[in-house]
């Protein structure tokens, strides 16, 4: 009899467990970002960060189970729309993405029509959120990055004569450049050289020589790390050593295969996340990331991680249920997003109605092959 009772009890417990699991709301979240191609570093990082967050949430007993879908867009607008169509067919309810700006503008337009809620970890142009109430950002906007960079350079007196080299074929780079120039003008900073390049440029000698000729002591690089590495090499080869100041796209330069990290020594950048910070959340995230992927996470990984937590917080507030269609929850998510406060790896974040995040940027410098705070 005791045995039967025990078995019954066990069964009850099991049932209770099952029913408790059934009560968990399953969120189908789709990550879209480049995982091959020139911008693969960013998409892989946001995906891995999101995956770690999803695993954590699934392991916890907080009423949510995350099913993370993933598609590669190779940093190409057309492929990104295909990726979007593919995840929507698989029943995605909301999107983490897309990682890079140009694809995000394309996907955002489609998602706006079809009423799908998007939270991008790292597409930072204002064009991403402009006229679209369904797209939110976890990263700073480009205007923020541009004007914050100008403010930091001015405040800390990092340079008096400034050169800017930017990619005029890229929305991200051009966006930051424009607000940087505007803010620099307001602050009375002197820009002595402005040169451009495109994605196809192989030779950077003209751009670097122009900055040197005009006596720039600080070169502002609102660009991704791949061309930035070529600019550092070109400057080094003519013995030109100004202060280089980058933005979040500079993150990744230290992990480039074959790149002599000594050249990046002293490069400054604005980034909201530092892997060697000592707070508990960062340490735990970095440890997990290193165990799983054998490298130190960059800012993008942290953005991806924060994205998933922000979505869960908003979904909880919006009362999203398992299997609800994306278009039915979009408006509730938008409303919830403006009410929540998320304490993430990249800072304490709140969102305004235009989709922009509010958090504090910090300036970092590369010393001995690692990022340290500029104030340290």
């Amino acid at each position: 009899m005791k045995k039967v009772f025990a078995v019954m009890l066990a069964l009850c417990l099991l049932l209770a467990c099952v029913s408790a699991m059934a009560e968990d709301v399953t969120l189908k979240i789709a990550h879209i970002g480049p995982q091959t191609g020139g911008a693969a570093v960013y998409g892989l990082a946001t995906y891995r960060g999101a995956q770690i967050a999803a695993d954590e949430i699934n392991a916890q007993d907080n009423g949510f189970t995350i099913e993370l879908l993933n598609e590669d867009d190779t940093h190409d607008a057309e492929k990104a729309v295909n990726a979007y169509n593919s995840v929507m067919e698989k029943g995605a309810q909301m999107i983490v993405g897309t990682t890079t700006t140009a694809p995000c503008i394309a996907v955002g337009a489609k998602a706006y029509e079809e009423r799908v809620f998007m939270l991008t970890p790292s597409a930072s142009s204002t064009d991403v959120t402009a006229d679209k109430d369904n797209v939110y950002q976890v990263c700073f906007t480009d205007p923020n990055q541009g004007s914050a960079s100008a403010a930091v350079i001015n405040e800390k007196k990092l340079g008096t004569k400034i050169a800017v080299i930017y990619n005029n074929a890229d929305a991200y780079s051009t966006g930051i450049y424009q607000t940087f120039v505007q803010k620099a003008g307001e602050l009375g900073m002197e820009i002595v050289s402005t040169t451009t390049f495109t994605d196809e440029t192989t030779d950077f000698s003209v751009q670097v020589a122009d900055a040197q000729k005009n006596g720039a002591d600080l070169v502002f690089l609102p660009i991704y790390y791949t061309p930035a590495s070529q600019i550092l090499i070109a400057a080094n080869s003519i013995g030109y050593a100004p202060t280089f100041f980058g933005v979040d796209g500079m993150d990744g330069i230290l992990t480039m295969e074959g790149f002599d990290a000594k050249l990046a020594e002293g490069v400054m950048l604005l980034t909201p996340f530092v892997a060697d910070a000592t707070d508990e959340a960062t340490v735990s995230f970095v440890t997990k990331y290193q165990e799983l992927y054998n490298e130190v996470p960059n800012q993008f990984a942290a953005d991806g991680y924060d994205c998933v937590y922000a979505l869960v917080a908003a979904a909880e507030k919006a009362g999203v249920q398992t299997g609800e269609a994306a278009e039915d929850i979009c408006d509730r998510m938008i409303e919830a997003m403006q009410q929540i406060t998320v304490d993430g790896l990249t800072g304490t974040m709140t969102w305004s109605a235009n989709g922009e995040v509010d958090k504090v940027p910090t300036a970092m410098i590369i010393r001995d092959g690692a990022y340290v705070g500029l104030d340290n």
Binding site: G38, A40, I233, G258
Partner: protein
């Protein structure tokens, strides 16, 4: 002095275009086809050198030799599999096949070596030549590239004018049907042309990535297109023309960027090409061939 240093940079970029253009022009001159995959064979060559040097610790000459062998094999295979069956087809069909081959190579490289760009190691360690008390710097890579260019140009000219095989190539180029009637094996002649072009691509890969040390699966495509432009500029099919066209193109690109606008650099290059082709449709050193009707 700034002008001189821009000029040197232009010649440096141009000499890279020239070496790629030599491969284009040689294949075009003999097989009468545009091998758009040439730029991608250069990319493969650069990856092989990168792997040999970084992962297997081979010295530079051995790495280069391995890359030349692999590229030659690759060139011959591509020719056999993709172009030979189309020998009788229209030139348009061959052109499209070449573009397809270019994408195939890029995407295969993506699968093998991944997407993350690699920085090419500084293997040609020659230092640089400093003139006028350090005001004018000429990089060692530039001097070596120019020297290699001249050597290859002389070598190819001698090869096509003096050797039996070279003469056969010129025959095939002039009149394929007549050459065949004279007992020349057209197929093997074209294969050897591809073999030489691809071996040159390995050398071009080394020089390209030594001067501009960024290696990813699309590394060869833009320089390839620019070099093709250079070959047309100089007169496609002409070996000295490829060299002249390449160097001029590089100089125009750099000077255009330096003195007119960095934004218009590429536009200026192609505008000059259009003007040259309007004035001299066969390119600077191209021979006008009269069509007999």
């Amino acid at each position: 002095m700034v002008f001189l240093s821009n000029l040197v940079n232009g010649i440096s970029l141009g000499s890279i275009y020239a070496i790629i253009a030599l491969g284009y022009t040689m294949v075009y001159g003999i097989a009468k086809m545009l091998n758009f995959a040439h730029g991608d064979i250069i990319m493969v060559g650069a990856y092989i050198i990168f792997c040999a040097a970084q992962y297997w610790n081979m010295p530079l000459p051995v790495s280069l030799l391995i890359a030349m062998v692999v590229c030659t094999a690759l060139g011959i295979t591509i020719e056999k599999l993709a172009y030979k069956p189309l020998r009788q087809a229209t030139s348009l069909a061959v052109l499209i096949t070449a573009i397809g081959m270019s994408y195939l190579l890029q995407n295969t490289a993506l699968l093998i070596w991944g997407a993350n760009p690699k920085v090419f190691p500084d293997m040609i360690d020659t230092g640089s030549l400093s003139l006028f008390g350090g005001q004018l710097l000429i990089k060692g890579e530039t001097l070596i590239t120019i020297a290699v260019n001249i050597l290859i140009m002389i070598g190819l000219t001698l090869f096509t004018s003096r050797t039996r095989m070279g003469k056969a190539m010129r025959c095939v180029s002039e009149d394929r049907g007549a050459a065949e009637l004279m007992g020349i094996n057209v197929n093997s002649t074209i294969s050897i042309t591809f073999a030489i072009g691809s071996a040159l691509a390995a050398i071009a890969g080394l020089l390209l990535c030594s001067s501009y040390p960024m290696l990813m699966p699309t590394t060869g495509s833009m320089p390839g297109i620019k070099a093709f432009t250079a070959a047309v500029f100089g007169g496609i099919g002409s070996i000295p023309g490829a060299m002249l066209g390449g160097v001029l193109l590089g100089v125009i690109e750099i000077l255009g960027k330096a003195y007119i606008s960095t934004e218009l650099g590429d536009a200026i290059v192609f505008a000059v090409l259009i003007i040259v082709l309007l004035v001299r449709p066969t390119g600077l050193l191209g021979k006008a061939v009269r069509e007999k009707v």
